[in-house]
């Protein structure tokens, strides 16, 4: 991209609320949840959909938290649909029933992505604080009956990686169109729980083999996606296809971010659609321009042949692990701080290491987390 040129976004990630009945220890929401509790209203989100579509966005992912806790969700689906956006509902399925899903489908919902934490009740309770598998299966059934395309999403970690074959079987049983076996990204809540969640390399490779064989066997029926944790890759992932390039994330209170986690980076002032139109923020907000393109890149990224493919990796990870959002992603083996990732990997390999207790996502603890973060910032 030439300097100064505004990239075209394709996907809007609308975080409608951070409220959620689940308490997953890998949640991608920020630690300081309570600071974002003043949610945009129905009309506010309507403007976001209109402005995003005008920028070229084609896909709207309605997510959270749990979007189903918004009583106006049907109106929000209808508003996004009216802008010809392909509307995906990213949900835990709790709380939903057939009537509600039918209402959403009637409002123009195009597809549903249902999360399952585990097929083992103890495993689900360990990671999410509760087990809802039966209710989720009901939701899957209702979605199929309505003809809604269904993606099954499972976040993979040390606690459930052995059950990847069972997740494939579940996807087949419920008639999913797509199965996402997404290893945890170690940011936010997941970073706080990293030593409890990061699997050993052999377990990752085994799960990847199972997923690859299933993908081959089910080609054309179920699309199966296995996302490796970047702690085990030699090169960083192309996080969000580049900073503020293809994705717009809007938080419940209207803050415009390049990804779910970017609010954790101190020193960047992200703007809200309550103050300025989305198009203006997207075009010239200093925080969104901070890591757009390649001008910000340090060595070794600056001259690396892969910089056009991975965009230098994840800025939030660089900030979280190195303390500098402008550093090379330490997941990259070429990073001068790759030792950080190597050390974490070594701990995951150590068979004697009893995993530490997991810290579930809780609203009250979030506020503590927020205070702690502010102290370290100050």
């Amino acid at each position: 991209m030439a300097a100064g040129e505004t990239p075209r976004p394709y996907t809007l990630v609308a975080e409608l609320t951070y409220r959620c009945p689940l308490a997953c220890g890998y949640c991608s929401n920020p630690l300081d949840l309570a600071r974002h509790s003043a949610e945009l209203d129905t009309a506010g989100w309507g403007r976001v959909f209109t402005d995003a579509a005008a920028l070229g966005v084609l896909q709207a992912n309605l997510t959270g938290g749990e979007p189903l806790v918004r009583p106006d969700l049907t109106a929000l689906v209808a508003a996004a649909h009216a802008q010809e956006l392909y509307v995906n509902l990213i949900t835990s399925g709790i709380p939903a029933d057939r009537a509600r899903l039918a209402e959403l489908a009637g409002a123009g919902l195009d597809s549903i992505q249902l999360s399952v934490q585990d097929v083992d009740p103890h495993g689900a309770a360990w990671i999410a604080g509760r087990d809802d598998l039966d209710a989720k299966l009901e939701v899957a059934d209702a979605a199929r009956a309505l003809g809604l395309p269904l993606t099954l999403n499972v976040v993979i970690h040390r606690g459930n990686i052995a059950r990847v074959p069972a997740f494939v079987a579940l996807a087949e049983r419920i008639g999913a169109d797509r199965l996402e076996l997404a290893n945890t990204q170690y940011l936010g809540w997941a970073l706080a729980n990293r030593d409890a969640l990061l699997p050993a390399r052999a377990d990752i490779e085994q799960a990847r083999g199972v997923a690859a064989a299933a993908a081959e066997r089910l080609r054309g029926k179920i699309e199966i996606l296995f996302v490796r944790p970047d702690y085990y890759a030699d090169r960083p992932r192309a996080c969000m296809d580049g900073w503020a390039r293809r994705y717009i994330v809007v938080t419940p209170d209207g803050v415009v971010l390049p990804c779910h986690q970017a609010g954790s980076i101190s020193g960047l002032a992200f703007e809200t659609v309550r103050d300025r139109p989305l198009a203006d923020i997207w075009r010239d907000s200093p925080a969104l321009r901070a890591f757009r393109g390649e001008d910000w890149m340090p060595a070794p990224c600056r001259t690396c042949d892969e910089r056009h493919a991975d965009f230098g990796g994840c800025r939030c990870q660089a900030f979280a692990l190195v303390g500098d959002a402008g550093a090379t992603d330490p997941a990259c083996a070429l990073s001068p701080r790759h030792d950080i990732v190597r050390d974490v990997r070594a701990r995951a390999e150590s068979p004697s290491a009893a995993p530490p207790p997991i810290r579930l996502r809780r609203w009250q603890k979030d506020e503590q987390g927020g205070r702690e973060k502010q102290r370290t910032r100050g």
Binding site: G56, Q59, P149, T151, D177, R219
Partner: protein, 91 residues
Amino acid sequence: MIEANKRVRLAAKVRLQRDRVSGKPFLLYPERGLELSDSAERIVALCGEDRTVAAIVDEVTAASGEPRERIETEVISFLRALDDRGLLVVT
């Protein structure tokens, strides 16, 4: 499997839509979008209505005036790419 005697139509999850920025046609499906070239758009427009793959090849050949073998290769490889992504119902 895409073969000459099979009938193909777009899967329910796929929506064909003209992009308001570029004016180009897109296939939209969960989490993704596929921009179509002019020739791909012609093929997509012929999917459905109970046409066989062979009938699609005939129509594209007639419209383009190019050799049928070449068109057949192009049509089948494009339909296979869609089928691999689960975007077609093949009967």
